[in-house]
């Protein structure tokens, strides 16, 4: 899953750094993820994993690191 998340970030995150250099717990916003790009990432994750983020998870914190994204996706996939 981590590699899939990295792929989505690579394609939609518009990060100014190589996604491979970002640790799973690094703050993606500090790494250059903009609010606009985070929405693109969220929508791309929904498509990639065939899930829908509930409104309560549409928060800045849910996309603040690869680990928080993984945690959210795991929850969604378990309840799907």
């Amino acid at each position: 899953m981590i590699e899939d998340i990295r792929q989505v970030l690579r394609e939609h995150g518009n990060l100014p750094v190589d996604v491979e250099t970002v640790d799973v717990t690094d703050d993606l916003y500090r790494a250059g993820l903009t609010s606009h790009a985070s929405v693109n990432v969220m929508l791309a994750l929904e498509e990639h994993f065939d899930v829908e983020y509930p409104d309560r998870m549409l928060t800045r914190g849910a996309f603040s690191s690869i680990e928080t994204i993984r945690h959210g996706l795991t929850e969604l996939l378990e309840t799907a």
């Binding site: 609010s35 606009h36 929405v39 693109n40 929508l43 829908e52 409104d55 549409l58 800045r60």
Partner: protein, 317 residues
């Protein structure tokens, strides 16, 4: 209290406020840099003394648009907003402003500027124009490149006239008007002006949000809500200042305004995504619009409860 002029007008070229400004708020950043040459302590934050909503029946939810009136109420400073029907009319207006020594904030196309959008997207941005002549114009982009850049008039006119996403009024500009003097309000005076403005307009603002949301729920028009998002962002800056000046509850209001701003910006970003027209995305956006509306109502109820007790007036459904 009236203060005299303190900062030379030439320092507009060295802007006090620089860097990132959220979508639809860059004109306030530019204007605050011009107003920093007036004797006002907090030009950027005092530009956030009002928020609201207007809807004209299309896909755009506007902010309340009362910030200039509020700035006048608080400080006595007049800011005028001009649009022009065409390039020659805009040029005449701009040349006149420069002749009178008045820098102004002009809407331009970010496609033509060093910015994240340069050469990629045609989106509205604003720059400070410190000098507009017949052959050249000097601009300062306080967001992306806060130093004077001298452009040929052709280059300037191209960025000024280029059609772009989000532009609803042609050749828009903002300029201070009148003498460079101002009152220095206390926090209590500013808060009172905010509450008075909201008390007057809250019911209409909430009605506009509800009507817009209902129309979105049943329609298919693409929507744009960046302007209310920006007004709440700017208002949060004002409430930061009020909190620094010991106004009870101001810090909490600033937090709520930031949450509302984030909520509106989220809707905006979702609606500008290519997938935004699908039924699933529209349903989600409708839910988020309802949530934002409820948030607005809660905040206004909290803020205006003391005023309602005093006057018997307040937001009504």
């Amino acid at each position: 209290m009236n203060l005299d002029f303190d900062r030379p007008l030439s320092t507009v070229s060295e802007p006090r406020y620089t860097g990132f400004a959220p979508i639809a708020s860059c004109h306030w950043q530019g204007l605050a840099n011009i107003l920093a040459c007036h004797p006002v302590a907090e030009p950027l934050r005092w530009l956030g003394a009002s928020w609201g909503a207007r809807w004209h029946g299309d896909g755009i939810l506007y902010g309340g648009g009362r910030w200039a009136r509020q700035l006048h109420t608080i400080t006595g400073i007049d800011v005028v907003q001009h649009t022009a029907p065409d390039g020659p009319a805009a040029a005449a207006l701009e040349l006149d402003l420069t002749r009178r020594g008045t820098p102004f904030v002009a809407e331009v196309d970010a496609f033509h500027l060093p910015s994240p959008y340069q050469g990629r997207e045609h989106v509205v941005h604003t720059v400070i124009v410190t000098d507009r002549g017949a052959e050249h114009a000097t601009i300062v982009d306080s967001t992306n490149n806060p130093r004077p850049v001298r452009l040929t008039i052709d280059a300037y006119q191209q960025m000024r006239s280029s059609p772009c996403e989000g532009r609803t009024e042609p050749f828009k500009l903002y300029a201070p008007s009148g003498a460079r003097t101002a009152r220095q309000p206390t926090a209590a005076v500013v808060l009172d002006a905010v509450v008075t403005d909201l008390t007057t307009h809250a019911a209409a603002d909430l009605a506009a949000i509800r009507a817009f949301t209902d129309a979105h729920e049943t329609g298919s028009t693409p929507v744009n809500v960046c302007r209310p998002a920006a007004e709440r962002f700017q208002a949060a800056l004002l409430f930061d200042w009020l909190a620094e000046h010991d106004q009870p509850g101001a810090a909490g209001t600033a937090r709520t305004l930031r949450e509302l701003s984030d909520a509106w910006y989220l809707v905006h970003m979702l609606t500008t995504h290519p997938a935004s027209t699908t039924a699933r995305h529209r349903r989600r956006v409708t839910r988020l619009l309802h949530d934002a509306g409820y948030g607005e109502e809660r905040l206004l109820s909290t803020l205006l409860a003391p005023a309602r007790l005093r006057t018997g007036k307040g937001p009504t459904r």
